[in-house]
Every structure is written in C-alpha cells, then in structure tokens.
C-alpha cells in the first residue's frame, strides 16, 4: 500500500450561497488543487458528493465540475452517504491512491438548500432516515438525535448544561473561523433561552441548514514528494456501518458504527487515543459530540458532558474538539461537511487557523457520521 496524503484542501464560507452548488464546488476544487501544487490535469479521478442536488434540479454534477476545471475527460462518480458523503469520497480517494490505481484524486462535497423553506429543508433532511419505519412514524432528523439524547440522559443523567457547554464552546470556536456559518459567541443563558425544537434539544443544540462547499486533493507521496504546504499523511481511513434503524440496535445511548470505526482506525494507524492532538467530530446536535467522544473511547460512557463543562475539549484544553466550530456552528452543508473537517485539519497543520489555532497540530482525527450512524467514517492524519 502506498502512502497517500492530503496535499491540498479548501472550504468556502458556509451559510447562504448566492451561487449554485456547481459553481461553489468548482471554486473550492480549484483552490484545493492550487494549494497542492498540482494542476487540474494531474487529477485522475473526481469523487463528488451532492446528496440534495435534486433540490437544485441537478444530478450527475461530476462531469459539470470536471468540465469547468478544464479536465472533461477525467472520470467522476457521485458518492452518497448522507452526512458522511464527502468523507466516504475521501475514503474512495484513499483506496485509489494507496492502492496504486491513481496518483492524484479530487474529492468535492457541495450542498445548497438555503432556497428551501424550513418545512421543505426539514423534510429533505429526514430523507436520510428510514422513511417507512422512522419518518412515516413521525421522526424528524432532530427528533431521531433527540430520542438518543433522551435515552442518554435517562441512563447517564446527562444535563442540559452539559449539552449547552458543547454549543457554547463550538460557537466560540466558530466565531474565530472565517469559513463558519455562525461567527458569533453565545452564552449558556442564550442557549437555555432558545426554543425547544425536538425535546430535549433546543434550537442551539442543532446545527443549521447551511450551504457550502469543500474540496480535498489526495496524492501519492511518490507523485508529489515535496508539496508546497504541510500535507496530511492518511494514517487510517476507515468506513463502517451498523443496523440502519437505531431502534433495532441494542443500545440507544451511542452509535455502534463510531465505536467500530474508531477501533479499526486506531489499529490501522498503530496509534493510541492519547496520541491524538485534536479532533473534528460529527456534532450535528450537541448530544452527537458527547456520544462521539464516548463511542470513540476518549471519555467513558456518560463522562463527556462533565469533561466538556470542565473545559477539557476547548481549544486550549487537554483534547481540543471541533476547533472549526463543528457542524453545530461552522455549519452543516450535508455533503460538504466531511471534506470541510479535513480542510480544517489541513489549515491547523499549516498554522493557518488564526484565532482558533490549537496548541499542537501534528496528529488529528476526523469523525463523520451518515444519518444516525448507519454509516461512519474515521480518518486519522499525521505529519510526514
């Protein structure tokens, strides 16, 4: 297996895009390619994620992106894995490059939903769940994670102030991130005063509907031995699944796909949990960040909330989590999210993160979940 590296990554500002998804995708893709020191004609394959392209009346967007990049003959494929789509694309890029099938691969994730009203956007998001056995019975996407939160609280006594501490922390980080949807801090009082969307989740427990685009270039070490920016060596690239409907699983207090992915990733990387300097984890809702940290073995079950209140996961804490602001405050343009986590890690490794720079950025983990954990990606990155 060859050494595969992220040699370029870029993200636009998440929020409301005036341009179409394909235009935003091409812009970030070219920025990522330019950062890598490669040129578009070096790209051997493009993996595109755009779950809800149909909301823009557009499918098969890969050839449109490649054509606009001046590489119309390069093959493309669309990778859909709900909220973990572009990290699934990264895994495909890793497989192609590490396996010797391609020297350089482009991964692009893009979503544009802001032109939909809340009812339609809520209905689109619910499509990631099982229509016949969840959505048809009244589940919304926040409702599914809220149901997990209710079980987590029942078992561990998880406090509202603990979930609120996740929101406050991630907003503070996003306030220092020019790519973030919400660039403002909030207080616990603001959090507690926000309306309940799906009990026990309040508005400030929930990620926003965001537009956005992010791109990654993965290249073989032998193709580009001395890239202009510090590359991310892909130490582990793991994808897992679990029983799709969460009510059919043995436990409702975590996501088994996260546990499995982290265990496999640490084995693949040959690393221990305490060797990770910082994490970007899937916090579509505040409870999801707590469960991710517990499922992946960074905190004991039920202990992540207290640790968050105590500051362990702040930028200057012992384990910085979501310095980008996470899905919660940076935003969650579904198909762009996984790639944007990697763009954040790329900026952190290259000390381009400004006011949100973590103290040490040499080994990092990205965790990206599809829907309620039917799919999961974990990537571990290190320096050359």
């Amino acid at each position: 297996m060859r050494e595969a590296r992220v040699v370029g990554a870029a993200s636009n500002r998440f929020g409301k895009m005036s341009e179409s998804g394909r235009e935003a995708a091409v812009r970030v893709a070219l920025e990522a390619i330019d950062r890598s020191g490669l040129v578009p004609s070096d790209i051997a394959y493009t993996f595109v994620s755009n779950c809800f392209g149909i909301a823009e009346r557009q499918a098969h967007v890969g050839p449109l992106i490649n054509t606009a990049l001046g590489i119309p003959e390069v093959p493309s494929a669309t990778i859909e894995s709900a909220c973990s789509s572009s990290s699934a694309g990264l895994h495909e890029a890793f497989v192609h490059v590490a396996g010797g099938f391609a020297d350089a691969v482009l991964v692009v994730g893009v979503e544009k939903l802001s032109h939909l009203d809340t009812l339609n956007a809520t209905s689109y998001f619910a499509m990631g769940a099982d229509y016949a056995f969840e959505t048809r019975n009244g589940a919304t996407f926040p409702g599914l994670y809220a149901t997990l939160a209710s079980a987590h609280r029942h078992k561990f006594g998880t406090k509202e102030s603990e979930m609120g501490a996740v929101a406050v922390k991630n907003h503070a980080n996003a306030a220092r991130n020019p790519h973030a949807h919400f660039q403002k801090e909030i207080t616990l009082e603001t959090y507690l005063g926000s309306p309940v969307i799906a009990s026990p989740l309040r508005l400030y427990d929930c990620c926003p509907f965001s537009d956005g685009a992010a791109a990654i270039v993965v290249a073989a070490k032998e193709k580009l031995p001395s890239p202009p920016m510090v590359p991310l060596v892909i130490k582990a690239s793991v994808r897992t699944g679990s029983i799709a409907d969460m009510h059919d699983r043995a436990s409702l207090t975590g996501l088994p796909a996260s546990r499995l992915a982290a265990d496999r990733a640490f084995r693949m990387a040959g690393l221990e949990r305490d060797q990770i300097d910082f994490l970007e984890v899937h916090d579509c809702f505040t409870i999801a960040e707590l469960m991710a940290l517990e499922d992946m073995g960074f905190f004991a079950p039920g202990a992540a909330g207290r640790a968050t209140v105590d500051g362990a996961t702040q930028r200057d804490g012992r384990l910085p989590v979501n310095p980008s602001g996470g899905l919660k405050a940076k935003g969650h343009p579904v198909s762009a999210t996984g790639a944007s986590q990697v763009a954040e890690i790329f900026e952190q490794f290259n000390h381009l993160a400004g006011g949100r720079q973590v103290p040490k950025a040499e080994t990092a983990l990205a965790h990206n979940v599809g829907a309620t954990g039917g799919s999961c990606s974990v990537h571990i990155f290190g320096r050359p």
Binding site: F133, T135, A139, S199
Partner: protein, 140 residues
C-alpha cells in the same frame, strides 16, 4: 464454497406492512431464529445473518424507552405538532417506533410509560397510553 442458500421469499412487503396497520388490522413484523424481533423489513436477520425470519404479528403493547416531543415537524405531520415520537420496547421483545398525539411538553410523558398501538386515520404507527398506564420504571 458451499452450496448457495436459496434466496428467501419476502414474507410480506413494506406495502403489506403499511396497509395492514393503516387498515387497523395488525402490526406485521419478523422474528428471527436468534430471537430478534423487528417491524423493519428484511430478508436476512441483521443480528445473526440467518435466513430464518418468520412472520410475526406484533402485539403493539410495550413501554417507552426513548422519546422526543416534536415541535418542528416534517411535511406529513404538519398539522399534528406538537406530538411525541417514541421508541417502544414491545412486551414480546424488539423495539418499534411510532408517535403519540397531543403531547406538547417533555414532562407530559416519561420513559417507562406503557403504551398500546391504536389504529388511526392519521399517518404512521400511532400509540396511546395504556388504560390506567403509569411508568413501569418510575423514572423519566
């Protein structure tokens, strides 16, 4: 390689499942040889991988193990919010989902409350509190 197992014939379709509860007849589900019980459609047991799923009529009686009051619904529940989305552990084992109308606040329900499936003209699997129901766990 051993001889291929025969492809199972679906015991019932998703459309069969849906029409049976919408008509108020029964809640159709599956029981696997390993004891796994579910309403979710499949050909092979997701827990043990065996092809011995059998048709099972689900009782529709059980207790709430997790729930959430929905204030911002999707389009099919636009006129029903607020309501509770519930995960119910059936008395025969297995968990299914459904909803309870008229629940406006989280405190209006508790984990452990016993519920029963009630046929409804509204969408989805609709539950009501069991007559004289309380919480079987005493906590919420």
């Amino acid at each position: 390689m051993g001889a291929a197992e025969p492809t199972p014939t679906p015991l019932h379709s998703i459309a069969d499942y849906r029409s049976a509860y919408e008509d108020g007849q029964r809640l159709r589900g599956f029981r696997s040889g390993c004891g796994f019980v579910t309403a979710t459609w499949g050909l092979v047991c997701p827990k043990c991988g065996q092809r011995d799923l059998r048709e099972a009529d689900l009782s529709g009686r059980g207790k709430i193990v997790a729930y959430s009051v929905q204030n911002v619904p999707s389009d099919e529940f636009l006129n029903d919010a607020p309501y509770a989305y519930v995960v119910v552990e059936l008395e025969e084992g297995g968990q299914i989902t459904g909803w309870i109308d008229g629940v406006a606040r989280e405190a209006d329900l508790t984990i452990g409350t016993t519920v029963v499936w009630v046929a409804s003209y509204k969408p989805g699997v609709h539950f009501g509190r069991s007559p004289g129901a309380g919480s079987s766990t005493g906590s919420g």
